[in-house]
């Protein structure tokens, strides 16, 4: 018997004696599946508000609490002004990016050398970039998260290696909660999921030294979200 078969055999043997359900240790075990429909969890999780404005406001509040910079802009003019201001303030020399409508326009506006990560690239070159500019799959109001995948955001490293992660999103990408995020992933990628999916919630952080919050532990020290 292979190791797999041996382990599975032990599992089946062990499960022959039934365990009581959580919360009713003295009741008889119930045989049926305990799984409730997955959307029932929504009613217990933090509230998000009904309208788009409520949810946008919640996202803004969450982003501020997380120490991410959030810019809700009207049109591309304003968005590129935000980017150019960051470029000048932080003296960007080079940025990382991937192909896309928003990222393409951003790179053109910035006029800096670009390390593209959607084709084979040099790791040292990406490491020396001052910012990684990506698009995303969604913004999550409930938690202030940015949902990215290896397909939507230029692979695995672009959004974590450079010291500043800049996300370009559109208003219609705002989703209410995490559950809506998972539903979107299923609709969008169904049987061909990207190999990497991540909910990014604020810039990288640690509290490992005396529980003092420090930003930029290993990933980006800054997270900027520009929403058009």
């Amino acid at each position: 018997m292979s190791e797999k078969e041996q382990i599975l055999a032990r599992v089946r043997e062990a499960l022959k004696s039934p365990a009581s359900h959580p919360g009713d240790a003295h009741a008889h075990p119930q045989p049926a599946s305990a799984l409730a429909p997955s959307n029932t969890s929504r009613q217990w999780l933090p509230a998000v508000g009904e309208t788009f404005e409520d949810q946008m406001q919640l996202f803004r509040k969450n982003a501020a609490d997380l120490k991410a910079d959030f810019h809700l802009v009207e049109g591309w003019e304003q968005a590129s002004r935000v980017l150019m201001k960051l470029r000048d303030q932080e003296r960007w020399q080079r940025v990382g990016a991937h192909k896309g409508d928003l990222t393409g326009a951003a790179c053109a506006a910035l006029g800096l050398p670009v390390c593209h990560t959607d084709r084979p690239y040099d790791l040292a070159a990406l490491e020396s970039c001052d910012a990684g500019i990506t698009e995303c799959d969604a913004l999550i109001a409930q938690t202030g998260s940015v949902l990215v995948t290896s397909r939507s955001a230029g692979g695995r490293a672009l959004s974590v290696l450079p010291p500043h992660h800049v996300v370009l999103a559109r208003r219609e990408q705002l989703l209410s909660d995490l559950l809506a995020g998972f539903e979107l992933l299923k609709r969008k990628y169904s049987d061909n999921y990207p190999s990497f999916i991540s909910f990014i919630t604020g810039p990288s952080r640690t509290g490992d030294i005396e529980r003092v919050l420090v930003l930029g532990a290993h990933g980006p020290k800054k997270l900027t979200i520009v929403c058009l």
């Binding site: 039934p18 799984l35 997955s38 990560t117 290696l161 190999s195």
Partner: protein
């Protein structure tokens, strides 16, 4: 080696260490404040706990089905899945992968399962360089220590301790600023990432439905571990499986809230395979190792099976009055605190580790806080029962027989009380010394005096007036 005696010695030393107590209590009080604030954002935290417990129950009680589904989905997209019954087998599999790749250096993100199987020691012994990348783990690795806490590995150290350590081991300038210290580690570890051949991670969940590994972290170290090296290895216990992708919508915020008090941890990432066609980065090879290591034995104990629901958030450690006073290293186990006391006897032997089940006030704070409702303090009682059933303690049995013989006979009981009052007069001669028959009690506690008259005597006297 006697684990129980070691536990006692270490506990006695640490409960008297005021600096240690201050450090731990301050850190955990901070945790309680933010955790409560975040819990209050949930519309119904108790209902969410019940739902999480039910989902875990479903997964664990149909483990064979969900494991098969998980493995099928992972393999379909090019992931190599390995099965290991024991820690030794898991170590051999990992060494085999590393040797085959002719790798030299390995970067690790936090994995309690790797502590469980003593992976670092095995890799170093075989001549490989292993670097822990989680800041807290990096610090305790430099100190050649085990993690103090499953979520906060270096919570027993001050910034001064860490500065001293970095100066000694890394040659950095001393600093009292946590940010500067973090940046020192960041710089050192960046180079390690760039040079690493293999990245090794643990996992928080595995999704059967879509064949994905879910990793929760704040620092970005696990993301780098899964992005840069050519080979990625994930070691996970078989109990980590969840049925559906959407289950994470509940579990991710609950893990974060219970674990650190955040509503959501900074990075919650899912890995469904190696670099796929059309992707420009990520590992060429992705290995997943499913570890049993006595988990099926715990599974076979229907009464305590829910201990496998554990999501390793550390909440029960944080609220435990024992943990808060004796600290994480005192346990001498991979998993400390209430959950460690419950599962260690299953993982490493009941008789050697039963003492942990007595290191409890049975206050139930752990059970109350557990986000997946594990019946922790009852399991401690069950461990005590199982231990004495398996190997009865003769002296204890005899003592209770003697006690029963006394209290069941009113005459004898009166006599013993009278004798006690007499003996009490000469007790100060030996009190607190080894000649004291009650030494086990009196060395650290007062012995309350026996009343001069019993209630019955008082009543009789009162009525006689």
């Amino acid at each position: 080696m006697n684990a129980a005696a070691d536990f006692k010695t270490r506990a006695q030393t640490l409960t008297r260490d005021l600096r240690h107590r201050l450090l731990i209590q301050t850190a955990l009080r901070k945790y309680e404040v933010v955790r409560d604030r975040t819990k209050a954002q949930f519309r119904d935290w108790e209902a969410a706990r019940q739902a999480a417990a039910r989902t875990k129950w479903e997964a664990v009680n149909h483990l064979d089905k969900y494991l098969n589904e998980l493995v099928g989905k992972l393999e379909a997209r090019g992931t190599k899945v390995h099965w290991a019954s024991t820690g030794g087998q898991a170590r051999e599999i990992i060494l085999g992968i590393i040797r085959e790749k002719k790798a030299r250096s390995i970067i690790k993100s936090k994995a309690m399962t790797s502590e469980e199987i003593h992976l670092n020691e095995a890799l170093e012994e075989a001549g490989f360089e292993v670097v822990e990348s989680d800041l807290g783990e990096f610090i305790v690795q430099l100190r050649k220590e085990a993690p103090y806490h499953i979520v906060f590995p270096a919570m027993h150290l001050t910034r001064g301790d860490i500065s001293e350590l970095f100066t000694r081991e890394l040659g950095s300038a001393p600093t009292q600023n946590p940010e500067d210290l973090t940046m020192i580690a960041r710089r050192v570890l960046r180079q390690k990432y760039i040079n690493a051949d293999v990245g090794l991670t643990g996992a928080n969940f595995a999704i059967a439905e879509t064949g994905m590994i879910s990793i929760t972290e704040n620092e970005g170290n696990a993301r780098l571990t899964a992005a840069l090296p050519k080979v990625m290895i994930t070691l996970l216990g078989i109990e980590k499986v969840l049925p559906r992708l959407e289950d994470l919508a509940l579990f991710l915020p609950m893990l974060a809230t219970a674990g650190t008090g955040q509503l959501l941890t900074c990075y919650n990432s899912l890995y469904g395979g190696p670099r796929l066609t059309g992707e420009a980065d990520g590992p060429e090879k992705f290995h997943v190792i499913l570890l049993d290591n006595h988990r099926t034995e715990l599974l076979a104990d229907a009464e305590q099976r829910d201990a496998l629901h554990c999501i390793r958030c550390g909440a029960c450690l944080n609220v435990c009055p024992i943990f808060r006073n004796v600290g994480g290293h005192t346990y001498g186990t991979t998993y400390s605190g209430p959950i460690g006391s419950v599962i260690t006897p299953h993982l490493r032997g009941l008789q050697d580790w039963k003492h942990l089940s007595y290191a409890s006030s049975l206050c139930g704070a752990c059970t109350e806080t557990c986000p997946v409702k594990i019946n922790l303090h009852h399991h401690l009682l069950q461990n005590r029962r199982n231990a004495s059933k398996q190997k009865p303690a003769l002296i204890e049995k005899l003592a209770f027989k003697g006690y029963a013989a006394v209290v069941n006979r009113p005459g004898v009981y009166q006599l013993v009380k009278k004798a006690g009052r007499v003996l009490q007069k000469i007790h100060p001669l030996v009190r607190g010394t080894r000649a004291d028959p009650a030494y086990g009690w009196t060395k650290t506690r007062d012995l309350p005096p026996i009343a001069r008259q019993t209630f019955k005597e008082y009543w009789r006297g009162r009525n006689a007036k």
